[in-house]
Amino acid sequence: MREFTLNEKLERFILNWLLLMIVWIAFTTTFATEEVVIGLIVTLIISLLSVRMFTCCKISILAPKRIYYMIVYLFVFIIALIKANFDVARRVLTPSLPINPGIVKFKTRLKTDYSKMVLANSITLTPGTLSVDIIDDTFYIHWIEVKTTDPEKAYKDIAWQFEKILLKIF
């Protein structure tokens, strides 16, 4: 892992602290003074210790435009998840079990590790696909009904609907 400059570290530390504090308040579900003070201290220690590990992005991730795309992404994702479940239900309940499995590959345009992780997770939860491995920028996807083995077409079919939004967020 590369070394961060002081400025980057500070940015990531503040973002970490903010996120942990939100999770703390959500778990305690109270704004009583003693709870909030203890939460501030505990999350401060955790974010100091973990500044090199648990950091995904710069603080500019909280820009309104990016948050808007995150909400759009959430809806696209939930619709894909529900579709995926009906797809599984259809395949399972059809007596002939209509599958034609195989593994396809394609290249992604995303740069950071975290965006690749989000894309791989989304691909796993969309209809008929399961991410098996990521090597640098190549995704290997198990597809329950292979429509094409051509990487470009597979990319359009599987990843494009998510990646066009992710490119705007990260």
Binding site: A26, T29, P101, I103, L130, S131, V146, T149
Partner: protein
């Protein structure tokens, strides 16, 4: 019965139906990868809607349940696909190759990577 209890019950019903279909999928599918496909999707949506259903059932007694339920839903959405990905990759590295029904030879793009790795190890 209040409206929240009805919503909660509907979520519980939907969750259990999808979990049942996922279980049926694991039973019927021919190999590990297809089973993971059925299992992951069903457990993610099924588990999510079960937990949201519990949150809705309790929302009148204590609204904190709903907030915690939403956090658990977010954690499920992140951790479930990661575990299935790890299982699929581990199975491939153990040389349990996926069943391929069609005659096309390019159906398994991941095979070449593993064969190259093996050659490097041998050399």
């Amino acid at each position: 019965m209040s409206i929240f209890e009805i919503i909660g019950a509907v979520f519980l019903l939907i969750g259990s139906i999808f979990l049942f279909l996922g279980g049926l999928g694991i039973f019927r599918m021919p190999d590990v990868y297809n089973r993971l496909q059925a299992g992951t999707k069903a457990t993610t949506l099924g588990g999510m809607s079960l937990i949201l259903g519990v949150g809705f059932l309790m929302v009148e007694t204590n609204w904190a349940w709903m907030v915690k339920a939403i956090i658990i839903v977010i954690f499920i959405a992140f951790s479930n696909p990661i575990s299935s990905h790890a299982l699929a990759r581990a199975m491939y590295k153990r040389k349990r190759y996926p069943i391929i029904t069609s005659k096309d030879e390019n159906m398994d793009a991941y095979r070449e990577v593993n064969e190259n790795e093996k050659k490097e190890e041998d050399a």
